[in-house]
Amino acid sequence: MTVYKYFIKMALRNKWLILSNTLLFFFFAIINTSGHIQEEMSFIETKLNIGIIDNSNSPLSNSLKDYLESKNNIIDVSPEEEIIREQIFLQIVDAVVVIPEEFEEKVVSKEKVIEVYRDDRKAESIQIEHQIEKFLLFANATHEEGKFDLNAVKSALSEKVNVNMIRDGSRGIDKGTNEWFRYYFNFTAYVTIACYISVIGLVMADFNEYNIENRRKISSKRFLRFNKELYLGQLSLAGIITFIFILGSIIIKGKYIREINFNIYLVNTIVFSFSILCLTFLINNITRNKFVTNCLSVVLSLGTSFISGVMVPQQFLGDKVLTLAKFFPTYYFVRINDMQTSSLLGVKNDIFMQLLFGLAFLLVGLYLSKTAQEV
């Protein structure tokens, strides 16, 4: 097992590469998925993040502020217009409401009075507009003898409707948990491709080096045995890397595993890893150049992640992009995670597609390897 031993030894020389990729992965996994677990037992009203600047400080403006505060999350905002616009642009706030000094008089005379900074293209802008207009409609309706009946308005606004949520079996109570795992495992696609191609590729480039290969050819080591040990080394390394990512999910959110179909994530990740290992095998048979291997690692990991729905959900990607993504196993891996089905049978086609890709990569790789030997 000399070859196997040296393969592992050389792979461990690239431990910083594995470690940096893994740390980057966990950093993103934690930042991007924090706060995703939220059980949805009943209907939850969407609260907007809004800023209120009250220059009037009148009973009417205070009452409006109280109402908006009860319906939304209030964010501190600067009165400077440039900063307000930037906060809307960055989606730190959904809207900023500016109440002027002569508020009450202008409400009574039904003038345009409240400045609302918002993005007109978003549903949130409709919601804040509706809340403000409703409050002022009610306030004006109670305006008699120069006074607003704000208690009556407040009492009326406390009237609620019943909201019932339907359940469809697969989704509902564990939606938030599933969302976390979906996000986490989708992201493993990026780091798996990056790690496999760069680490295994770099080690294989050393083994495929011209002088080493010549020495191997004149050694007593049989070619088949040499290759067997190399492939075993690749399999071991891939297994360790994938195991770290699976273990990571168990360590971070282990207590929620029973709420989801963890087996599907597990099988999917293992099948995907196999398929990417075969892709790595193919790349190693295409090039021996470390620089090209590195470039391919960066381009393929980022590229397939962006077009297959790892970084952005598939529902937001265009049809042409998704058509292109179908030529890579990452698309089917992400699709299974996004399906959130309860049985393996439901995802058998996508599992099969990944295996098929793996097989195709393997066969082309073997063909290239055979051709290279003949030369």
Partner: protein, 351 residues
């Protein structure tokens, strides 16, 4: 001057022929921009979509709902409700008692709820209908488009503008006798090192600016994205980004005796880390950091460039231009000065 020009030509040829430079400075940014575009384009063009409401035939609030522009009314029988909610045809169903049925929580469902609540609340307020003026409009609209995703493109531009770092490392490595063969030759000839160094900086800056230009042309004419509407200050920030990158590269090159490859890895990690903090891998990271550690966005060179670029080009704001240019200039001067300290009077006992 003639020597400087000759040095520039030789070093320029050298750098262009290097595949590493071509890939990282010319090809990689274009590939990244393409991927960003493919992934995020759909999320940048938001359109206000109608909200689909299901009601039974003869519901008493049908005429009220029809008056509201954003609502689409669908006639749905009780038997179809579950199916239509499940397949997303309707966002909510209102029954004859004004109860709402939904499949999930969300902004559209919340808006439907508020519309029905208004009807109930008016009943509770118990005022004659003529007291309500439904035509009154109290809102002065101040529209501002939100576009968090575009931050990724500005971060990419900012990152690429600092790729002069590679030229900086190369030129400093080349003149050091313990790191390159050319350095050995240079140190035993009467050629002046500082001329070689200045030529290297000029070439590094010029080629990276050229690479930035290619990226901008690609983004504008191929991806059809208008990132640069304001030219004057934007180009100042891009040039300063190049200067900062080259200065940092010179500092990395001069401050230690690691191999050129190790220094380039160091440079990639530093630039990538700064870019990550500025939102290149996801704008939410920038938002979270701006909220919790706001000083970071003001001292991170990539954030300074990307923040100013979107402020100038999309918000028309120049409020942080002076601060940004000052900090970037100070960084550049500091790194050039430190590199000079490391490089001056360096002697070799044996080369």
């Amino acid at each position: 001057m003639k020597t400087l020009l000759r040095n520039c030509i030789y070093q320029g040829k050298n750098l262009i022929r290097e595949f590493g430079f071509s890939f990282w400075c010319l090809i990689y940014p274009v590939i990244l921009a393409t991927f960003f575009y493919l992934a995020f384009n759909g999320m940048m063009d938001i359109e206000l979509e109608d909200i689909n409401i299901g009601i039974e035939k003869g519901n008493r609030i049908e005429s009220i709902l029809e008056e509201i522009k954003i609502l689409n009314i669908h006639k749905v029988s009780q038997a179809e409700v579950q199916e239509k909610l499940n397949n997303g045809e309707i966002h909510g169903f209102i029954d004859s008692d004004l109860n709402l049925m939904v499949k999930e929580s969300g902004i559209n469902q919340t808006i439907i709820k508020e519309v029905i609540e208004q009807i109930k609340q008016m009943e509770r307020l118990n005022k004659p209908i003529e007291n309500y003026d439904f035509e009154a409009d109290h809102i002065l609209d101040r529209n501002q488009e939100a576009n968090l995703m575009v931050i990724i493109f500005y971060s990419l531009v900012a990152m690429v503008s600092t790729y002069g770092i590679f030229g900086g490392i190369t030129v400093v490595s080349v003149i050091q006798a313990n790191l390159s063969h050319i350095g050995v030759r240079l140190n035993v000839t009467p050629l002046k090192k500082h001329e070689f160094l200045i030529a290297g900086v000029i070439v590094g800056l010029a080629l990276n600016l050229f690479a930035n230009g290619i990226l901008f042309i690609f983004i504008k004419y191929v991806l059809k994205l208008e990132l640069l509407n304001e030219f004057k200050y934007s180009s100042i920030f891009i040039i300063l980004g190049n200067l900062f990158g080259t200065a940092l590269g010179m500092f990395i090159g001069a401050s230690n005796r690691k191999s050129e490859n190790a220094k380039i890895t160091m440079a990639v990690v530093i630039v990538l880390f700064f870019s990550l903090l500025s939102g290149m891998m996801g704008p939410n990271i920038k938002v979270v950091l701006d909220k919790n550690i706001p000083i970071l966005g003001r001292i991170n060179p990539i954030s300074i460039i990307s923040n100013n670029l979107y402020r100038l080009n999309l918000l028309g704001s120049t409020r942080t231009v002076r601060e940004g240019t000052l900090i970037l200039s100070l960084y550049s001067i500091l790194f050039i000065f430190l590199s000079y300290l490391f490089l001056r009077r360096r002697d070799y006992d044996s080369i």
